[in-house]
Symmetry: D2
Subunit: 246 residues, 4 copies
């Protein structure tokens, strides 16, 4: 079993993959590519939390065996978003790292259940959570296994989908001593801005990034406009490493 | 079984009671008082969603029989906040109206479970939800049984705990045709402002209010500073009815 | 000369008129109508602060004589927005009440100049000003002659143009003791919501309202969609007085 | 006379100096230090826009000769914030670059006056301006001579003084083609975070930074807690250049 400390031995931690799994082939191709370019962890949503019930809700349980195949063939670690207490057991063999999304940041029953599990867990910040709420939620699961993820807050500023809040990331990291990664995809909402924001996060001191990436962004059913191609991911990796070493 | 339409036959709908149940005696006394002054529904939290795990987490299951006694003795309807799918069954005999809190507004697994239940449900708005997210969440449960509850949004404005967003309440009501009540307690965070904001909500067109009230606010373990006394509740009720009839 | 105390002798203070003056005829007709329905003060912008330089910038100085005619014929008081130190002298004969817009709330050179003038002044709140900034700006002019105006703040909430912040209005009024009026027009951005928000403001305790009104909203060059007709203004006045007396 | 294009020939553009001038000696020492470390432009406020009238309002006109001495002795360019139309003439000999602060971003009379002047101008973004408002304000002065400055927006997020909005900076730069610099000092409000945020801005693609710097931050009368020492400025410059070249 991987621990949070193992995960962060070779920083920056890079997590890549599509927002939502759509087919075995796409997943496998994307996984091989991002592995080659330096990613350590593969991400792909199986059960998607969607604003409206008639939107695509993810491929569900059948994606579990696709991810298991990816783990075995590529050697990548895998992380899957958990939205319900019962899914914690369901992903036990597949998900090396658990992951709680923004909408469930204060789903305390889920947090308590994850608290019983030894795996490291990524906790995305809620849409406008305070530092106290974010750290409080982390404490429900255990501060020593949590990696916080800043993904943008909803504000009166209208430039992109969300405003990336590096100030909050810095406070979580420096004042509370918890590792923090940045999600540039959801804050951007547009592909051409993802790299700029990822680099900003790393320059500010993030311990890693989580980036929506696919060999073919145009086939994505969720978050298509903010998913970067594996080619662009490769270019980004190059710059990320350079900035990290400054 | 009460339906949403029955509930709204005598508007404004008034829901009152303490934030969190603390003792049988306090609950019963408060219930008799608010009933006498015109409330139709009694509220009291049993399992409290708290930002930090070491805060008081509510009296839990043992409060269920207290609420049952209140229903029988006072004739008030009862509403209890549900935070987990399993609690839906637990409150079946007690809670005439289900209720989803702000932190669970997009806990879609919970929403789907409640969607299978015929009871009316109050859906509090998330800390900074868009209209689309709020109505989307309601749709998961069934638009014909939901009563939306505006409780203030987190903004850059610093006057009180949250900014009461009557604009959003109006859009939900007029553009989407869903009944909406206002929670003046959480937005205020201070007792002396609760009445002013409740009256504003009714004047704007809210179908009702939900107000944290106790015979003895000083003994409250949660939200003490924003809980009004039953005396003040009585004064508020008087003005609410006058404004509603203008 | 009118003083602030005189102005507030017959509350609620009601200020009405078009966003921007367009013709003598429209102004005069509108003034007669709103006077008849109970307004005490007439408003009309002459120099308009517009986001982009190629938008209509107002009729300018020539509107001064139109407003003078209105004062004389209808007996209404007049208020004109001042955007520059030099305009303070320019409006001396016409504007019984000075008025500083949101964009100039912290234009301290302008505030100091107005501070030398004895007339009462309306100070609109900036787009996201804190209470301290709003009151600080008022102090530059003299707290005993200022009437604060809440007109909505820019937030992450997307329901209407701005979020009306009655919480801030209440703090300014109760914690600082300064009179406050509400502008329901700019926060709404849509005509059908203006009345609901005006009533909410009065129910919360506002000392008055300022409402964009015209005999013919469709001819307005600025803020057309949020300007109500004088017919609707009459209906609103009826309800406003009833709520104020509850 | 320096033009905007000349200024941006050697990017990143670095502007440093104290928030507010306090004495000739401190200014001169700070100027020599930041020049040595690579700054191209010296900043120091003379007339300070303060929230409350009883706060320190700056040294005023007497600082002009101090800045003139610095220009002559160090060869640095100078920029001074202008708060009123009349100050445009007052700083003509001293200020190579004009500068409009956040509170005056929509002081259109000031913008028009500056529009008649050929000098380049820094336009700080208002506390929660939209992209359209920011670019609209720039258009009043002339898009070809403006350098936009992102300095943080006021939001519901509570981590630091303001939330640095790199998303808006990126949209201004890429969608509108206007040069943009970042002010990490005002968004941070605390010295230890200034460097992290400055590096984030440069990594995201900013054309430069403006940083509050002093040989002795502890003597500063304004913004003391966010002013970095010239030693820390030197360390920051090293990293800024490395990141800029990645």
């Amino acid at each position: 079993m991987i621990t949070r400390d193992n995960l962060l031995e070779n920083k920056p931690l890079v997590i890549a993959g599509p927002c939502s799994a759509s087919s075995r082939e796409e997943l496998l191709k994307t996984a091989y590519e991002v592995k080659k370019m330096g990613a350590q962890v593969f991400r792909a949503g199986l059960w998607k939390a969607r604003t409206c019930p008639d939107s695509f809700q993810g491929v569900g349980d059948k994606g579990l065996k696709w991810l298991m195949e990816i783990k075995e063939k590529t050697g990548l670690l895998v992380t899957v978003e958990i939205q319900d207490s019962q899914q914690v057991d369901l992903v036990r063999d597949v998900s090396d790292i658990l992951w709680v999304g923004s909408r469930n940041m204060q789903n305390f029953e889920l947090l308590k259940k994850i608290g019983e599990d030894p795996r490291p867990v990524i906790l995305k910040r809620g849409f406008i959570s305070t530092i106290k709420e974010w750290l409080g939620a982390a404490t429900y699961m255990g501060l020593d296994k949590v990696i916080l993820c800043e993904r943008g807050v909803r504000t009166g500023a209208d430039a992109m989908r969300f405003t990336l809040d590096l100030n909050a990331m810095l406070v979580a990291k420096h004042d509370y001593g918890v590792p923090v990664i940045v999600d540039p995809s959801h804050t951007a909402g547009r592909r051409d801005m993802v790299g700029h924001l990822a680099c900003a996060g790393i320059a500010a001191g993030a311990d890693g990034i989580i980036v929506e990436t696919s060999v073919d962004p145009e086939v994505e059913q969720v978050d298509r406009d903010q998913t970067i191609s594996t080619e662009d991911f490769g270019i980004l990796m190059n710059r990320i490493y350079k900035i990290y070493s400054t």
